[in-house]
């Protein structure tokens, strides 16, 4: 297999063609001669943002049902037709999108295109499949609450920061109650609304003939006019100042406290997005980051600690997260707040910034390695509306960031320690005596339906 794009001394981004179809479709085509694998990604803007109030999870469930049969094939027949080709189809809903990815050997796409067309234009939305899929989604959430708590911090944090009534505060997958309230009829309506969306984003990666694929896509996505054409937006946030600082999710018997520290950051229009990546690589985005070093390497408190952020169309969250045995949870939270406080006030030591810079520059070649990675990269590029020219200056921009610039970016994008909210999952009885010094806490049982107390 040939290496794609040779970065490094002669850095060159993967070559792709970008074009627009009438009706608001944007395409990115990236041919990779010789690649055995082809990936087609279709993204519609909307997602959980379009979930009606109290019916969280509708878009996510709609996406799942797209794979549950067409007029010509029931769910099993459809799966069998795709899998027999050695291909696979993933459907997903996110906060702001609904999407499908098809991956398979390039040579089977001739037989895959008609299946894609059926799924988009004649989905079955069978009532029995709806009832089954919805029940499985509800029971899977119940089962997840018994398992490893790490994956459950994000939905609790979303609710605690945005308020469960806000479209960014309810879980994308919905919860036990909201899923149960969704009517079957909402599936088709949700899909029609997405399909008519003002922006459909498509990427294709693999060994293909661009002219032929463009033609297939034109036929596939040709939409009749007159439908609803808008991209949904999140409403403003209700005031949250009156809430206690911490949310403690009680799971009796848990031997560790799993914690999340953060608040509202910035949206995708944030101009210094390259520099923000560097700031997080230094703060919590790699093994030698400040937070992992303080908690794991220096003190042996945890298996791992990291920081993160997202850049959606509405301001996303910035956070630090880790877990440690119950006895040391409060100390680990305090140590994390200390690290954040030091970076807020003094910025990053030059050596750390340099090390993070070298790490990101070296890792860049691993971003564009597989078809799946390239498809994801193109999807982000299209969704964020960025020009590829911005990526061309990536290394120069990393080089140009000074310690003071890094501090400023952290200040702009991550609340100061005293303004951060806290979410902890663990044994409340054993944790509470130690957590008092960190502020007021609201206690909520994990066994309760949903992800935290209702907050309007």
């Amino acid at each position: 297999m040939t290496g794609s794009g040779s970065l490094g001394s002669a850095r060159r981004l993967p070559d792709f063609t970008r074009l627009s179809l009438s009706g608001g479709c944007e395409l990115a085509l990236l041919p990779r001669p010789g690649s055995p694998v082809m990936t087609l990604t279709l993204i519609w803007q909307g997602g959980a943002l379009t979930d009606p109030s109290g019916l969280g999870g509708a878009a996510s469930l709609t996406a799942e049902l797209l794979a549950k049969g067409t007029e010509a094939s029931d769910a099993l027949q459809l799966a069998s037709r795709i899998e027999s080709l050695g291909a696979q189809c993933d459907t997903w809903g996110t906060r702001e999108t609904l999407g499908l990815t098809f991956a398979g050997p390039g040579r089977v796409f001739d037989r895959l295109w008609p299946i894609v067309r059926e799924m988009l234009w004649t989905p079955r939305f069978d009532r029995r499949e709806f009832v089954k899929t919805r029940m499985r989604a509800i029971e899977s959430i119940q089962a997840a609450k018994d398992g490893d708590p790490r994956s459950l911090l994000p939905p609790y944090a979303d609710g605690w920061i945005y308020g469960t009534a806000h479209p960014f505060g309810h879980p994308v997958m919905g919860d036990e109650t909201s899923l149960g309230a969704i009517p079957a009829s909402l599936m088709r309506a949700t899909w029609m609304r997405h399909r008519a969306c003002a922006r459909t984003l498509v990427s294709v990666v693999g060994d293909f003939d661009p002219l032929k694929v463009e033609e297939e896509l034109r036929a596939l996505l040709l939409t009749p006019g007159g439908a609803e054409r808008s991209v949904p937006h999140a409403p403003a946030l209700a005031a949250t100042a009156a809430r206690p600082r911490g949310l403690l999710i009680d799971r009796p018997g848990a031997s560790q406290g799993y914690f999340w520290i953060g608040g509202i950051g910035v949206d995708r229009s944030y101009a210094d997005w390259v520099e923000l990546e560097l700031v997080h690589a230094a703060l919590g985005g790699r093994f030698n980051s400040l937070i992992n070093r303080r908690l794991r390497v220096e003190r042996g408190l945890t298996y791992g600690a990291h920081s993160g952020y997202s850049l959606p169309g509405f301001p996303g969250l910035s956070y630090l997260t880790s877990y440690t045995p119950t006895e040391t949870t409060a100390a680990a939270i305090e140590a994390s707040l200390e690290v954040l406080g030091e970076a807020h006030e003094k910025g990053f030591p030059m050596a750390d910034l340099e090390a993070a810079r070298r790490f990101l520059k070296g890792q860049e070649v691993f971003r564009y390695e597989t078809s799946g990675q390239l498809a994801a990269w193109l999807g982000t590029l299209l969704l964020q509306g960025r020009d590829v020219g911005e990526w061309e200056r990536y290394p120069e921009r990393l080089d140009a960031l000074s310690p003071d610039g890094a501090r400023q970016i952290l200040n702009e994008t991550f609340p100061a320690p005293e303004a951060c909210r806290l979410v902890v999952i663990g044994d409340a009885e054993r944790l509470l005596p130690h957590l008092g010094g960190l502020g007021e806490w609201t206690r909520h049982p994990m066994a309760a339906a949903g992800f935290g107390p209702w907050l309007g």
């Binding site: 297999m1 794009g5 390497v297």
Partner: protein, 446 residues
Amino acid sequence: MSQASGVTAPAHPPGLEPAPGTVPSPLIYRRFDDGLETILWPDRGNPRAALYVVYTVGSRLELPRPTGLAHFLEHMMFNGSTGFPDDAFDRILEDLGGSNNAYTSEEVTVYQDLVPAGAIGRVLELEADRRQNLLIDPMRVERERGVILSERHASIDNDPVARFLEDVQSVACAGTSYASPVIGWRDDILRIDARLLREFYAEHYQSGRVALVGVGGIDPDDWHRLIEAHWRSAPGRVVPEALACRGPHASFGERRIAGRGELVAPYLVMGFPAPQASDPGALPHELLWTLLVGGVASRLYATLIEGKSLALDLGTFRVGRIVPGRMFLGVTVSPRRRVATVERLIRVELERIAEQGPTEAERGRVQNQCLAAHAYRLESVAHRAELLGRALVIQRDPGALAEYPLRLGAVTCEDIRMAARAAFGSGGWTVGTLHPEGATGSGGSR
């Protein structure tokens, strides 16, 4: 002094040609007199390189010392050697623009380094130094113990299914060195000390148990020169094969274990005999399990999830590959359903496949699925290194990777039926059921 040989790729049968570029040809293999093995898959112009250092050292070598020793040592490998003290390994690697990780299983410990291609020399140097000159500082052992306990809490102690699976493995593999969890029992993690770690390191981290696997933009001449410079300057020694480590014994009939836990969804796990990776039956066995659980159209997925809504999720995991081992099927049962119903339906499906084998259409589907999955994995240097390491160390057949499409195409329906008879027809099963606290009878709740 050393034997060198090229492993060449075979021709491919019509209809199953992999697309260009997927065949590792030729692979450059060498075995030195101290037992060190090296294998390179060069890929000119690739700006990436993967170095996987595979130690044939796993938890099965721990007895009679405390469990968890091999995994603890894996953690200590990031805590300083004489040439690169403290956390220099991680710092230097990230400075090179690289990333790294490691894992330990019952049979191997694998150190995974991913770097821009130009940095391969420095990585070979770092890896050689910690193979030869690891410092095991008692202070750092204490700190690392906290990290490992936190890892154990996160991955096992706070997940009732994971806790139950430890019990199931100890029952399924009773009396063998495969019976204990790789991370170790909590009490054992507490008593491991620097002395035990040093002994284990000195005994097992010898070049006779090391395979260096390189993939990506690495020049073959550079590769050999760097290995001579860093790995051959202080050769280790050949170590005896781990003959004492047998896989799980064939047992009479079935072993059953039932438990109760704080959970909503009951869990069912069934373990079956599985051939060792070097057995000719291993590939039909892989196709058999793809046919049972690989994808929505697979038999068990279609029956249990898509058809009857009895289960929320299902998956498999494997214990023992170098030796004949066990394949485990795990099923998260719907809280509204009974475990017994699910177990009965699975038994019907297993009996059916063992008696009748697959249809031609099914065989074609799973072959296409496996071939496509193979192509996806070969896209990244990391996966290529992982697969090449397994082929060399676990399968003892580095050519298996290149021949995979050919061998896959040769598997018949009858081969798959025979694999099913071997797995399901001759006892040696282990069945574990985990029920919600307070549920009645042997079934689920509600």
